[in-house]
């Protein structure tokens, strides 16, 4: 009589162990998947800073400015944007904070009449991303 329950117990234990192993593997896979997803998201520019950098590559910023992290940006019309996150003023006039920078990127002549920097009809979301990137240059 006794061997049966023992065998049953052993079978149960082995099934539990299999289940535990499966669960462990599954959660590892899940974590792995999440890691991959995050990397893809980053590669697609899904953090604001990285999206901003990619947007700067798409817009003609580099025609006039040197911008660290954007190799093609080597323009000499406007000032270099190196360490722009630490710059005190935008266009030498406006105290450099995020809101002002976003507004500036969307319509420079509205903020500093006479500036050579043009209005590039930039959506607010793009300006926000670019501002994130520029603010990260410290």
């Amino acid at each position: 009589m006794t061997p049966l329950p023992a065998a049953l117990l052993a079978a149960g234990a082995s099934r539990l162990a299999t289940l535990a192993l499966f669960c462990a593997l599954a959660s590892a896979c899940d974590a792995g998947n999440r890691l991959v997803t995050a990397n893809v998201a980053q590669a697609r520019g899904e953090t604001s800073v990285e999206r901003g950098r990619l947007a700067i590559e798409r817009y003609p910023c580099g025609a006039c400015h040197v911008i660290p992290g954007v190799p093609a940006a080597a323009g000499r019309v406007g000032p270099s944007l190196e360490r722009f996150g630490r710059r005190s003023y935008i266009a030498g006039v406006i105290p450099n904070d995020r809101q002002a920078l976003e507004r500036w990127l969307q319509d420079p002549p509205a903020m500093v009449p006479g500036t050579t920097m043009p209005d590039m009809a930039m959506p607010a979301s793009v300006a926000a991303d670019m501002a994130s990137y520029l603010a990260s240059l410290r």
């Binding site: 040197v66 000499r76 019309v77 406007g78 000032p79 270099s80 190196e82 360490r83 630490r86 710059r87 005190s88 003023y89 266009a91 030498g92 006039v93 500093v112 006479g114 500036t115 050579t116 920097m117």
Partner: protein
């Protein structure tokens, strides 16, 4: 012999490490609320005296007309606020400074005329003593140096009388231009002059040392820029105008008019145009 060298090298290394530890741990009190330690004070004072003596050695006495009235007027306008005078206390700016600016009443006991001229003209690093070379004519610097040398013989009443007599005089605000207005800019002089107009307080400028500041844009590569001040074509004439009168170009600009003379602006622009 080898042991001696090794011991000396070891001791030197320990001393350097100790010095670095003192600096990085923030041990030294840099506040102007307490005086230097006597050791540091004496070290700085000796370094200053020897340096001034060395550098003023070959200065010839004035070739310019020295005016006692101008000397008094310049002392009142430029020196009294920090140094005070017989019967007159320094203002807050001088009283709150460490080391305390000397009273100059006994200056003739320590310094020669040419040394007072040198100090007035060139200033002394880290003491609060500014260089007046670009903001006073040479004649006025000699005049004020003569005035300082005479302070030890003045009573408080004499001093007050001298000041009253000089009340109508104005001290110069610019160095006398040494060359014709048509000369070409001198980049080497420009680089030296940049340090006297606080340009480097807001801008990184290759070739001029200073803090890691980003108040204004860095000026490296300025010669290759096509536009300056956000709107002007980058020519040497426009650059000079911008340096001298930023608010004529852009009334809203945060860049101040620091009173750059035409002569100095030409040299500064010449230097900036060497930055490729």
């Amino acid at each position: 012999m080898r042991t001696v060298v090794a011991t000396l090298a070891g001791a030197a290394m320990l001393a350097a490490l100790a010095a670095a530890a003192v600096v990085y741990a923030g041990v030294y009190d840099v506040s102007a609320s307490t005086p230097h330690t006597q050791f540091v004070y004496s070290l700085l004072e000796t370094a200053q005296r020897q340096s001034v003596r060395m550098r003023a050695r070959s200065i010839e006495p004035p070739q310019v007309a020295v005016s006692p009235l101008r000397g008094a007027a310049c002392f009142k306008a430029r020196c009294e606020q920090c140094h005070g005078g017989p019967g007159v206390a320094p203002e807050g700016i001088g009283l709150g400074m460490q080391p305390v600016p000397g009273p100059l009443i006994d200056a003739s006991g320590t310094w020669r005329l040419r040394e007072v001229y040198w100090v007035t003209r060139n200033g002394v690093k880290m003491t609060g003593m500014p260089a007046w070379r670009l903001r006073m004519s040479d004649a006025d610097i000699w005049s004020v140096a003569e005035f300082v040398m005479g302070l030890s013989r003045m009573s408080a009443a004499d001093y007050a009388a001298r000041m009253q007599a000089a009340a109508g005089e104005r001290c110069s605000t610019e160095a006398t231009a040494s060359a014709s207005a048509q000369r070409a800019g001198d980049p080497r002089r420009g680089r030296a002059v940049i340090a006297q107009y606080a340009c480097r307080a807001c801008h990184l400028i290759p070739g001029v040392t200073g803090a890691d500041v980003h108040v204004g844009p860095p000026l490296g590569g300025l010669a290759r820029r096509t536009t300056i001040a956000g709107k002007l074509p980058n020519t040497i004439d426009r650059l000079e105008d911008w340096i001298r009168f930023p608010h004529r170009v852009d009334p809203a600009s945060a860049m101040p008019d620091v009173g750059v003379s035409e002569n100095d602006a030409r040299d500064i622009a010449a230097y900036l145009m060497t930055l490729h």
